[in-house]
C-alpha cells in the first residue's frame, strides 16, 4: 500500500513538473470552451436570405422592409419555387428562406390569422437557430404593432423548418461535446503517454523487475489522471455555467458519477493503447487520431447523427463518447434524472468493464 502511495506521488511529480502536459491538460479545456462558446454562438451579420413574396400586399411589404432594415440580413427578393429551395441552399451562401403564401394579406385581414414559412439551413444549427429566432422576433414585433393600431387580435404564425437538421440540435450541445472530447484527450492520450514514457526511458524494465505487482503500475498511473480529470471536469462546468451561461438543470452529483464512469472508460482505453505501443509519438497519435476523430464525428455534437448514412449511425454505437454525450445532454441540459439515462449508463459501464478487462489482461509482466 505504501508502495502505491509513493508511486502515485511520483506520478504527480511528473505531471506538475512537465509544463507542456499541464498546459495541454488545463489549456485545452479552456480554449475549447471559449472557442466553441464564442465562435459558435456569436451574432450573425449580413446573413444571406431570400424572401419569396407570393402575396405582394401591404403587409408583406411592411414585414420585408423591417427585415431589410435589420443589419443581420442581406435580403434578396425572388419568387422562388418551393422545389428550388433545396438547390438554392446547395449552391451555398444562402442561409434562410422566408415564404409568404399568396393569400397572406387576405388571410390576415379576413381571418385575423396568417402563416409565414421560414426555412433555414440546419446543417449549421447555430446560425440557423439564431436566424430563425431573429426572424420570428421581427414578425412577432410587426404583429404586435398592427394589433395595437387596430385593436384587433391579429396573429401571424411563423412556421419554422430546418432543412437537413430538423431538430436544430447544436446550440448548447458543444458543452457536453467538449466535455467528452477533453476527457478523452486528457485521460486517454496522457495516460497512454505516461505509461509508454516509462518504456522509453527504460524504467519500465526496473518496475517489472521490482516486486511491485505489474498491474499496480497501471493503477498507480491511472489514479493521478483520474483525480486530474475530475478537476478538469469541474473546471469545464464552472466555465460553462459562469462564462457561457449554460445552466446545469439536473443533479450535479449524478453528473459527477456519470463523468467518473466515462473517465474510467477513457483511462482503460489509454492503458490499452499503452500496452500496444512502445513510443510516445505512436501513443499520442493513436489516441489523438484513433480516439479524437471518432469522438468528434460520432458523438453528434459537431455533425448531427440523424443525417449520417445508416452505417455510420451503427458505428457510432460503439463510440463510448456518444453515450456519455447523450447522458450529459439529458442530465445537464434537460434536467432529467437517472431513470431516463440508465440504459446509456449501462452501455457505458459495460464498455468500460470490457475495455478494462482487456487492458489488464494484455498488460505484460514481461517486455514482449
Amino acid at each position: 500500500m505504501k508502495q502505491l502511495l509513493v508511486f502515485i506521488r511520483k506520478e504527480f511529480y511528473h505531471v506538475f513538473r512537465d509544463r507542456r502536459t499541464l498546459l495541454i491538460m488545463f489549456g485545452i479545456p479552456i480554449a475549447q470552451i471559449l472557442l466553441f462558446g464564442f465562435a459558435l454562438t456569436s451574432d450573425v451579420k449580413n446573413a444571406e436570405i431570400i424572401i419569396a413574396d407570393h402575396a405582394q400586399d401591404i403587409n408583406t411589404g411592411q414585414i420585408t422592409a423591417k427585415i431589410k432594415a435589420s443589419t443581420y440580413f442581406l435580403v434578396k427578393e425572388a419568387n422562388i419555387n418551393t422545389n428550388d429551395i433545396e438547390a438554392a441552399f446547395k449552391k451555398g451562401g444562402l442561409k434562410c428562406v422566408v415564404i409568404f403564401p399568396s393569400r397572406f394579406g387576405a388571410d390576415l385581414l379576413h381571418n385575423g390569422k396568417a402563416q409565414v414559412q421560414i426555412i433555414a439551413d440546419g446543417s449549421d444549427p447555430n446560425t440557423a437557430k439564431t436566424l430563425t429566432n431573429y426572424l420570428t422576433a421581427i414578425i412577432t414585433d410587426y404583429q404586435l404593432q398592427i394589433s395595437a393600431a387596430t385593436a384587433l387580435p391579429y396573429s401571424i404564425v411563423p412556421e419554422t423548418r430546418m432543412l437537413y437538421n430538423e431538430n436544430a440540435n447544436g446550440s448548447l450541445n458543444f458543452v457536453p461535446g467538449v466535455l467528452a472530447l477533453v476527457l478523452m484527450i486528457v485521460c486517454t492520450a496522457l495516460t497512454s503517454v505516461a505509461v509508454v514514457r516509462e518504456k522509453e526511458s527504460g524504467t519500465m524494465e526496473i518496475l517489472l523487475v521490482s516486486p511491485f505487482k505489474p498491474v499496480m503500475v497501471l493503477i498507480a498511473k491511472a489514479i493521478p489522471f483520474l483525480a486530474l480529470s475530475i478537476a478538469i471536469f469541474t473546471l469545464i462546468l464552472l466555465l460553462s455555467v459562469y462564462v457561457l451561461d449554460v445552466p446545469i438543470k439536473g443533479s450535479i452529483s449524478l453528473l459527477y458519477i456519470e463523468s467518473i464512469l466515462f473517465i474510467i472508460t477513457c483511462l482503460s482505453l489509454g492503458l490499452l493503447i499503452s500496452n500496444t505501443t512502445n513510443s510516445q509519438q505512436t501513443a499520442l497519435l493513436l489516441s489523438m487520431m484513433g480516439m479524437m476523430m471518432p469522438t468528434l464525428i460520432f458523438t453528434g455534437f459537431m455533425f448531427p447523427l440523424e443525417n449520417m448514412p445508416r452505417i455510420f449511425q451503427v458505428i457510432s454505437n460503439i463510440v463510448p463518447a456518444r453515450w456519455y454525450f447523450l447522458i450529459v445532454k439529458a442530465v445537464m441540459l434537460k434536467g432529467l434524472g437517472f431513470e431516463y439515462v440508465w440504459k446509456e449508463t449501462l452501455v457505458l459501464a459495460g464498455m468500460t468493464a470490457v475495455l478494462l478487462a482487456i487492458a489488464l489482461k494484455n498488460f505484460k509482466t514481461r517486455l514482449s
Partner: protein
C-alpha cells in the same frame, strides 16, 4: 548452488528471423564479478533480459539464485538488482526522490541498506536535490547503481553501465564494482569495451548470439595460440597495406600506435624474417617485437576462427 545458470538458451526476434541468442550455456558462481564482453548486437542485452525475467527465451532453461526464470520469476524479481542499458532514471525527479522511490518500490528504505550504498551515494549527495536530468553521465550512472542496490540484491545485473561514459568515470565505476564484490554480491556486467574485460574475474566473449570463450581474462590471453608481434615503421598506413599483401603474414591489424601481426610460420626466426621483409619494402624506423596479446586480440582471433578464415579484414 550457482548464482546464475543458462542452459541452451536461444532467443529469436521477428518470428525467428533474427537470431539474437544462439544456444548459450553458462554458469556463474556466487560472489563472482562476471563480464559479458561483446559488441552491440552480440546478444548481451537479450541474455540480461532473460535472466532478469522480463523476456522469455524460445528454448532452453535458466535460473538465478536457484530460481527458474519462468516459473519463479516473482522470487527472482525480489532478489536481483538490475540496471538496464538505456536506463535513464526519472529525469524530472531529484536524486533523492529517485532513490526514495526505488527503495519504497522494493519494499525497503534508504536508511535500512544505507551501508551498502554509502560509498557511492556520498559522491552524489551534494546534488541530492538536483533533478536527475541535470546530472552528468558519470553521476547518473552512480545514482542508477544506488537505485539498483538499494534493496540489497543477491545478484546485480549491469547492462553496459559504462557505455558513453568518459574514461575517468569508467575507471571509478569499476572500482565501485570491486568494492561491491567484497560485500558478497554476485555481479554480472556487460560491456563493449574490451579493455574492461581484464577487470572482471571471469568473462564470456560474445559475438553474433554465441559465446566464443568463457574463462578468466588471464587464461584467455595466455592461451593465445601463436606469437603476436607489435610492428611499426615510419609510414604506418603503407606498412599495413604491405603486410597484408605479404606471404609471411597471417593477419595484421592496426592497434593504436602499432600493428598487431601474426605469421603463417611460427618458428624462432619469425621476428627476424618479418623485420627483413619490411626493410626490403623500403620502410624506415622499423620496430618489431613480440608482445603479450590483449583480450581484443583474442576476440578478433576467435571471431575470425568462427567465420572460418583469417582473412585480413
Amino acid at each position: 548452488m550457482k548464482a546464475v545458470t543458462l542452459k541452451n538458451i536461444t532467443k529469436t526476434y521477428d518470428k525467428g528471423k533474427v537470431l539474437a541468442v544462439d544456444d548459450v550455456t553458462l554458469q556463474i558462481d556466487r560472489g563472482e564479478l562476471f563480464g559479458l564482453i561483446g559488441p552491440d548486437g552480440a546478444g548481451k542485452t537479450s541474455v540480461f533480459r532473460i535472466l532478469t525475467t522480463v523476456l522469455l527465451a524460445d528454448k532452453g532453461s535458466a535460473s538465478v539464485d536457484g530460481f527458474d526464470v519462468v516459473k519463479d520469476y516473482q522470487s527472482i524479481r525480489r532478489r536481483i538488482g538490475y540496471m538496464p542499458g538505456k536506463f535513464s532514471l526519472y529525469q524530472d525527479l531529484t536524486v533523492k526522490e529517485n532513490l526514495g522511490f526505488f527503495a519504497t518500490l522494493f519494499g525497503t528504505t534508504i536508511e535500512e541498506n544505507y551501508a551498502l550504498i554509502k560509498d557511492i551515494y556520498e559522491q552524489i549527495e551534494p546534488f541530492k536535490n538536483r533533478r536527475a536530468g541535470k546530472l552528468s553521465g558519470g553521476m547518473k550512472q552512480k545514482l542508477a547503481l544506488c537505485c539498483a542496490l538499494i534493496h540489497k540484491p543477491e545478484v546485480l545485473f549491469l547492462d553496459e553501465p559504462t557505455t558513453g561514459v568518459d574514461a575517468v568515470s569508467r575507471r571509478e565505476f569499476w572500482e565501485m564494482l570491486k568494492r561491491l564484490k567484497q560485500q558478497g554480491i554476485t555481479i554480472l556486467v556487460s560491456t563493449p569495451y574490451m579493455d574492461e574485460a581484464v577487470l572482471c574475474e571471469r568473462i564470456a566473449l560474445m559475438q553474433n548470439g554465441k559465446i566464443m570463450s568463457v574463462n578468466t581474462p588471464q587464461h584467455i590471453i595466455a592461451t593465445y595460440p601463436v606469437p603476436l608481434y607489435a610492428v611499426k615503421s615510419g609510414n604506418i598506413y603503407k606498412l599495413l597495406n604491405d603486410l597484408r599483401k605479404s606471404e609471411l603474414v597471417e593477419s595484421s591489424f592496426a592497434f593504436g600506435e602499432y600493428l598487431h601481426v601474426t605469421l603463417k610460420n611460427n618458428d624462432a626466426a619469425g621476428a627476424g624474417n618479418l623485420r627483413n621483409h619490411i626493410a626490403a619494402q623500403g620502410h624506415t624506423n622499423i620496430e618489431v617485437s613480440v608482445m603479450a596479446p590483449t583480450i581484443e586480440d583474442s576476440f578478433i582471433r576467435l571471431t575470425n576462427k568462427k567465420q572460418g578464415s583469417f582473412a585480413q579484414a
